[in-house]
Subunit: 342 residues, 4 copies
């Protein structure tokens, strides 16, 4: 039985408490939140958990084996570091930290203490993303040419982070899971239409070392909600529409090929393939439960989780580079130099 | 009666012949195409037109008052210039020319000779774009925050122009019509996945002097066909979906506003407006017929057409800047300097 | 403060408990269910309610002012009658009873004791149905020509009632609210494809005294879930699609009219109107909360609720007539004779 | 080379002329239409065909081998009979005749003279219907439980036939192709909302001898255009949506099964299967061309065409029975008695 302490019972914390509380081998031992109404709600839903307004107290409690951090981004580094130093395994809400440097320090601390450090990139554990990952792993899609995501809606404007840190973070985590090649540069542009609020619209292009390309369209000020990813491969293409209640993933046996040889350049023609479409049944299991099981398994075995600190860091590096590119109207930021310099 | 000569009876030429041939006050006098099968088709559909394999002969024929150019982009400049020098009014297929410099030379020639020079940006004359333009002109949409277009499909790969010159050209022309502010910079990225073919996927961000932003997602290698534009305004938002057979334009009474004063910065909250959606009935009149009437009217009155040479030049400047930005992975190209330098 | 006793904490009971428990002026006093696991769940979610395995005990408890009945259809009559005889107001799950005769007995008992008898036809209290009712009341739709509903999905097969009593009941209740004219006959056909299960597919046609017509397509064995109602009016037409997350109601300014006079019979032509479409913002308030408020208000004032016993009876009469017509392959059942005989 | 004479160059005739004119082994020899403007259009599009205002003259012309009849329904019998008596093969527009008796007389005449009599049920030759027929023939769908069609739109109101003869005729022809069991009864209801016009809305239920059921919802006064058929089978289910530009046919690996034995009646449970969805690529070949090839092949070989007179008669019998049922508000009409009596 692994005993979890939860920091933060605001918007996302209740979901973590519910998922971990309902998973075999886990127990919600303590819940910490500075807000009295939040603690009251926690008491109602988790009568057997101990409650405290002090996150520090929870972190240091000897009955807590692992800490779940669901507090604002700006607090992630300090709380996760304190938990690691107290010898606790850590699952931290996305994004892992507010700078790549701090994300790196957390990884080092966890490695030094042989503790599990995992990032809560929930989308990676959905049945849809798992199904797509399976299609890519078996080679059915072929080489990935592009990943093109539209993730827009009306609201919720955040106060402390811009739309990239709020929405693009999901795509970066999914791309970490799906794309095998190495991102080498990023160009991004953004705009903010409510004075005094962070940028609410951004477009990000990511260049990969094998010629693949990713693009993300994120916006808090769109008339309708769209959650659609197109993935182009050399063999097949995929549309992943998370707004559908069923058939979220569609695989199209479609593509284009060059005819003729290269010598024969002026004769070249492109031929198109228009085959069947298939929507595989995807696992209806709740993503957070799959994620909770992964964290518990890794604590027990010492394995690195699928969304470990290293992948969380790469996501933060992309968020950071994208935000800097936006300041310069799309000026491309070299991701390799960044990594080598670090 | 204005007598038209048509250069090129390939993919688009037959549409021009049909639209102009069916418009009051116009007659298709001559059709020129180097290809014998094309001329044969022209003979069948336009038995009263004179046919010739020589475009030059048609241009110089004294019975031709105005020339319609529907030939490949690389020939636009030479043919349009020859027609203007022969004293003929000119309608040229989009894009107007393959470089901004050549577009400028055409404008100067037409101005010197007091001839009408018009660019065939057909989308500008559709009922849908006209309806949106009307909504903007009356102030119903408010200030335009952004124009965000997705224009993707499978095929048709072009040999001589990349996807920007083939598809983004439509959006640039529509933006010319709808957006009142001045574009100041462009950042674009692209990729080509079929070796030896032009780039087939691109993402373009355009920055405007008033803070507005436009974004274009164009792709020849997408699993499905999408033609969707979202327009965000300070009062309302629009979705223009050209794949719908009816209700192409939807107006959403939705938006977000900052509450409180700016001094009160830490208390600021964003409130959302979620009102009705309305899909106005749009004119079912064929865009090409409206366009033909505009050309005829301007020849008769000497007025500048809605899609005149100047607007055609601005479109070519954007296409040219976007293509150059792509060579540098999104490096922003200053559009103002360009114009001042010219 | 009105104190409610809930009979049945299975599929629907928890929703009633939550809605009434969260409404001002109401308290969940007791919850009764024969199943120990159901009582355990009730204890967790409603720690302040008293629990009992005996519905009879709850009904007779002097601290209970009104009873909510969420048990199987076959028990509705006996439980509702017992509650009324104990002097309690009653809200009974739909359908009100399993025969028209029993529904009538409940109405008489409630009238005799001046108690409120209400039927839980939740759909009538949704923002969408309220919006449509408003459009009809103001005359915007004109005379109602037809109501045409498709309500199909895969599962859940019921054991004790057929698909008509499970799904068509919703449409009959909505029609009760929206259609002002009197139903005079019903023709229905059905089929069952799983041996030993009730009919899982049915089509029902209802004829009204003013020439209007309603049609219901209900099915538990459809590949996809559809919840779509088309309403044709002399002025406008409506589509109500309950599967949409927004824009559930769309109003089309479309229709057809006869041109010319009737004398002029051979010259008659039909002209079509193709105007705007509008999707009004509908109330996001939860239907069950609106319904709870209505029950509470009627208990306090003595008013008849919108979905009172009389309307519940008319729904049961339609269900009963439809089921009988099905036994005779669509043989039309006269609804007026029925009523007069009663 | 088979030489065709076309009777009627109104709405549908031009399509027949184009399809047959463009098919190998066929030539449009003559076109007959009483209307001078129609003949003028025919002259423009088919310069090599002989034109005449007299259908009789065309039918009797020795250079005509086979006659295509695209005139109003009320004239089908007389013209087809005249053509058969003149020794010509006949393709007649749907529906084959205005009464079952007349359809039968045509079949007898054609059989007596060993001529091909074919009915133009175009939908049967579409790639979509052919694909579904293939799925049924291979057993992939299993036993057909139901065929449920929605075929509604705004307009075109017909003057001489009601909506059943105009729209349901398509479904009856498709059902003829797809359903192997025998229809035994029909119950239908209809309404007309424009005074003096034929019924514009109808719902038809068809009962089959093996327990299968078909239902058709047809309407000229609907706010949107829907062309959707659901087919439920014991193994899989199909949605055929003719309004989609691609993926018209979707096959769902979904269904329900009874668990347990029948003895075990109170324990019975239904289990659901929720597998993949697949949209097969369907033939893009134009249906009319496939149909023209079928007619030509049968003329050459003497084979019975897929949509021969016998199947055309069964369609007319259904149309006739449905219309009679409507007069009696859904009173079921026995189809077997009809056939035996005939």
């Amino acid at each position: 039985m692994i005993r979890f302490g939860l920091a933060g019972y605001g918007y996302w914390g209740p979901n973590l408490a519910r998922a971990f509380g309902g998973t075999a081998g886990a127990r919600i031992e303590m819940i910490a939140d500075m807000s009295p109404p939040a603690l009251q709600r926690a008491a109602q839903n988790h009568p057997s958990a101990r409650l405290t307004p002090s996150i520090e107290e929870m972190i240091l409690d000897p009955a807590v084996d692992a800490v779940l951090i669901a507090t604002p981004v700006s607090t992630h580094f300090d709380l996760a570091m304190a938990a690691l130093r107290a010898g606790k395994h850590v699952l931290v809400e996305k994004p892992m930290a507010d700078t790549p440097e701090r994300a790196r320090l957390l990884i080092e601390e966890a490695a030094r203490r042989k503790l599990i450090l995992m990032v809560d990139h929930t989308f990676v554990y959905t049945g849809a993303v798992q199904a797509i990952a399976g299609l890519i792993d078996t080679g059915e899609i072929g080489d990935i040419y592009y990943y093109d995501s539209t993730r827009v809606n009306l609201g919720l404007f955040q106060r402390d982070v811009n739309v990239i840190w709020d929405l693009a973070v999901h795509d970066f985590a999914i791309m970490e899971r799906l794309l095998k090649s190495k991102p080498v540069a990023i160009s991004a542009s953004s705009a903010g239409f409510l004075r005094g609020s962070p940028e609410n619209m951004a477009h990000l292009s990511v260049f990969y070392d094998n010629g693949a390309m990713a693009h993300l369209n994120v916006n808090w000020l769109a008339p309708v909600k769209i959650r659609q990813v197109m993935i182009g491969g050399s063999r097949k293409m995929v549309i992943y529409d998370d707004m559908q209640t069923s058939e979220k993933v569609k695989i199209y046996d479609r593509g284009a090929e060059k005819d003729g040889t290269e010598a024969d350049i002026y004769q070249h023609m492109v031929s198109y393939r228009l085959g069947d479409m298939r929507a595989p049944a995807t696992s209806p299991k709740e993503a957070l439960v799959t994620e909770a099981e992964e964290f518990i398994r890794c604590i027990q075995t010492g394995d690195q989780p699928l969304t470990d600190g290293a992948s969380g860091l790469r996501v933060v590096e992309m968020l950071d580079a994208a935000t800097r590119s936006c300041r310069m109207r799309g000026f491309p930021i070299d991701l390799l130099t960044l990594k080598e310099a670090s």
